[in-house]
């Protein structure tokens, strides 16, 4: 059942992405942005329902793996981008974020599901793991948004600096606004990610009997945390604009890259699912 609802959500995402991209191409038709926003809101609700159903069907197990993590992260990224659009009123962001969310969701909706629900051991069923999963997903979602905004900044900066005032020029918000939004998203993501790191350590102590085990997931998370922490600090010493945007992209590449590599190597990590 949850997968059907998720497919419905994917359809709504497709509609929202189409509306946003059309709005980006024809900014005169402001109604497209409104349509996109409503469809995105509907998709967010549908995906939320799907996640709830998934929890009932699989007893929450799917959220311990990468797949559930991606679903949750896309869901939270959507929620965060809805909040951002409410606060800043820059609907052109939707043209960058919504297709990204859709692309991340696609493998999940065509993949086969677990045949039978797995049983989650009691040791893992602690409040800390719930907080850990939610904060880690939200942190990654915020980093993803920041990366999207950084791409917008870099594209726009190239046009403004190169004196070629093309299509982007009239469609994107000012560089200053993008830079500031990027900074806020990085800062918020860093705070949330810190919570994920702390709760992750607590869970590791309970499940793995040690807070630090040189597990690749732990190492990469710490590196990512340090990088974003450095980014927050660098801001105060005058890192602005282009360099900040580039570092945001590096950070997000690290997030995506490390997860992909760790998951490609079987048995590299005990993180996520292998708690038997």
């Amino acid at each position: 059942m949850s997968i059907q609802v998720l497919r419905l959500a994917a359809f709504l995402y497709l509609g929202a992405a189409t509306a946003y991209v059309l709005f980006f191409a024809r900014p005169r038709h402001a109604v497209l942005a409104t349509v996109g926003q409503w469809l995105l809101g509907a998709a967010f609700l549908a995906q939320g329902v799907s996640i709830g159903l998934g929890c009932r069907e699989y007893g929450g197990t799917e959220f311990f793996g990468l797949r559930g993590g991606v679903v949750t992260a896309t869901w939270l990224a959507t929620g965060a981008s809805l909040v951002v659009q409410r606060m800043y009123r820059i609907p052109s962001v939707g043209a960058f974020i919504t297709p990204l969310v859709l692309a991340l969701l696609l493998p999940t909706i065509v993949a086969q599901r677990l045949d039978r629900p797995e049983v989650v051991p009691e040791t893992v069923r602690a409040p800390a793991i719930t907080v850990h999963i939610i904060s880690a997903s939200l942190g990654v979602a915020l980093f993803a948004l920041a990366a999207g905004v950084a791409v917008m900044y870099l594209l726009q900066e190239r046009e403004v600096k190169g004196k070629r005032f093309g299509a982007l020029f009239s469609r994107l918000p000012s560089l200053e606004a993008l830079d500031q939004l990027n900074q806020r998203l990085v800062r918020a993501g860093f705070v949330v990610y810190t919570v994920a790191l702390v709760t992750g350590t607590i869970v590791a102590r309970v499940v793995w009997k040690s807070a630090w085990t040189w597990d690749p997931q732990q190492v990469s998370s710490l590196v990512i945390w340090a990088l974003y922490g450095g980014l927050v600090q660098l801001r105060h010493t005058g890192w602005h604009g282009r360099r900040f945007a580039l570092l945001t992209l590096v950070g997000f590449a690290l997030v995506v890259g490390s997860r992909t590599v760790i998951n490609l190597v079987p048995g590299a990590t005990r993180h996520g699912g292998t708690y038997k």
């Binding site: 005032f165 918000p173 200053e176 005058g238 604009g241």
Partner: protein, 447 residues
């Protein structure tokens, strides 16, 4: 019934008259209201609208052609006798076309500039308030606004920046968003720089700092644009606290160089800064563009954007003219078909009166032998004969009028002998309702 009344335009604009004349005849507020009332009285008309902006003053009157034109001409000559020779006049459809083109910004100095529509709306609003604009101008102006809206939506005539300082403002907006709480530094006392600084103040810049090699000129310019004079020696510290720097000195070399700016950027903590160099020869080293978070544009960059805009707008203007033409035609056709209505109404009134009289006569003779139902049948029959007889002439008259043929309505009036009757109803919007060929449209809501 409106035959004999026509729209007439007398005006002068940036194309026909120098500013010295334009400023003499430009009226606003109460003075303009008084003038409108005077125009209304002088024409014995009822309707007048005056569009008065810094680039044009145009008097549109609606009434007997000779009296109206005369009143409109006097409006100018009474204010400024030297306006004679700078005036242009348009009558009828030409005047309608002119108003549509003006509202659509096709007649503006910078084609496609967005302010003019608001100014025309304001002119109409003022005339409505002074009750000098009635049913005719209500329809005409609403059509003009609709035309302007179509032009803006269906063509790209209003796209892009039309002047150098507008380009500068757009660039700054693109980099910084709005300028609230930011400082603009004006280096040198060129006229172009002062213009741009003023434009940036309109964008919300709080502080405008002015510096110049000669302290007196800095002070004078600062006073002119309500800026703050600063000594030339503190240029580097001024650069450190300004976000937009407009450079227009007469110096033959680069005043702002990477070597000068590098330490400044450290002090600024790499906060973005934008240089706009409007000086010739250039005062800002183009190598600056290579520094991170530094944006530098020279006059050629800005000019290039302006000429791109103008080229694009010239292309769009052709499409806009076609829209205007279609709207003018539609307006005139609508008017013509309205002009046929009074003749039709008069013919129908007369026919119905005859039918009613004949029915009554018949009923008084044989009515006693008929019951209520029978009497109603006789009345209905008389009405039906009228309807059937007039159906053909009615539709043909409407067709002829809509295609601009005014001879047929005239012939019909003569044929049916209703000429005298229609002359009893002077075309005035204060007529009792029912005979009104032009129901007064609701005034345009002020936006």
């Amino acid at each position: 019934m409106n035959r004999g009344r026509e729209i007439h335009l007398v005006g002068l604009s940036h194309k026909s008259a120098p500013v010295a004349v334009r400023e003499r005849v430009a009226l606003s507020g109460d003075a303009l209201k008084e003038a409108l009332v005077a125009l209304q009285v002088a024409t014995g008309v009822g309707e007048a609208v005056v569009v008065s902006t810094c680039n044009r003053v145009e008097v549109y009157v609606y009434g007997e052609p000779a009296a109206a034109a005369d009143a409109a001409r006097r409006f100018f000559l009474d204010l400024a006798p030297e306006a004679n020779g700078h005036l242009y006049e348009r009558g009828g459809g030409e005047a309608v076309r002119h108003l549509f083109r003006v509202a659509s910004s096709l007649d503006s100095m910078v084609v496609g500039e967005p302010q003019i529509l608001g100014q025309v709306k304001e002119a109409y609003g003022l005339a409505s308030a002074a009750q000098s604009a009635g049913a005719y101008f209500s329809r005409l102006c609403n059509r003009a606004f609709a035309t302007a809206k179509r032009v803006r939506n269906e063509t790209e005539i209003a796209k892009g920046a039309g002047s150098v300082s507008q380009v500068a403002v757009e660039l700054v907006e693109k980099i910084f968003g709005d300028l609230r709480g930011r400082a603009v530094l004006l280096v040198g006392a060129g006229k172009m720089g002062a213009l741009s600084a003023k434009a940036l103040r309109d964008l919300g810049a709080d502080r405008i700092l002015v510096t110049n090699r000669s302290p007196e000129r800095a002070r004078a310019l600062a006073q002119e644009i309500q800026g703050q004079p600063e000594p030339w020696e503190s240029l580097t510290s001024l650069l450190a606290l300004s976000d937009v720097v407009i450079v227009s000195t007469g110096a033959p070399t680069y005043v702002i160089t990477p070597a000068l700016l590098a330490p400044v950027m450290k002090v600024r903590r790499q906060r973005s800064v934008c240089f706009i160099d409007v000086a010739v020869p250039r005062n800002v080293d183009p190598a600056l563009a290579g520094m991170s978070n530094v944006y530098a544009y020279d006059i050629d960059d800005l000019q290039r954007v302006v000429s791109q805009t103008h080229a694009a707008r010239a292309g769009e203007a052709v499409r806009a003219e076609a829209i205007v033409e279609a709207e003018v035609m539609a307006f005139l056709a609508e008017r013509e078909s309205r002009a046929a209505l009074p003749v039709l109404a008069a013919v129908r009134r007369r026919a119905e009166a005859i039918a009613r009289a004949e029915a009554e006569r018949t009923l008084s003779q044989v009515g006693g032998k008929l019951d209520e139902k029978g009497r109603r049948s006789v009345e209905a029959m008389a009405q039906a004969i009228v309807n059937k007889l007039l159906h053909g002439p009615t539709s043909r008259l409407k067709e002829a009028a809509a295609s601009g043929d005014s001879s047929l309505p005239g012939a019909a009036a003569e044929l049916f002998g209703v000429e005298s009757e229609s002359a009893e109803n002077p075309p005035n919007e204060r007529r009792p309702p029912g005979n009104d060929p032009e129901p007064p449209a609701a005034p345009e809501p002020r936006s």
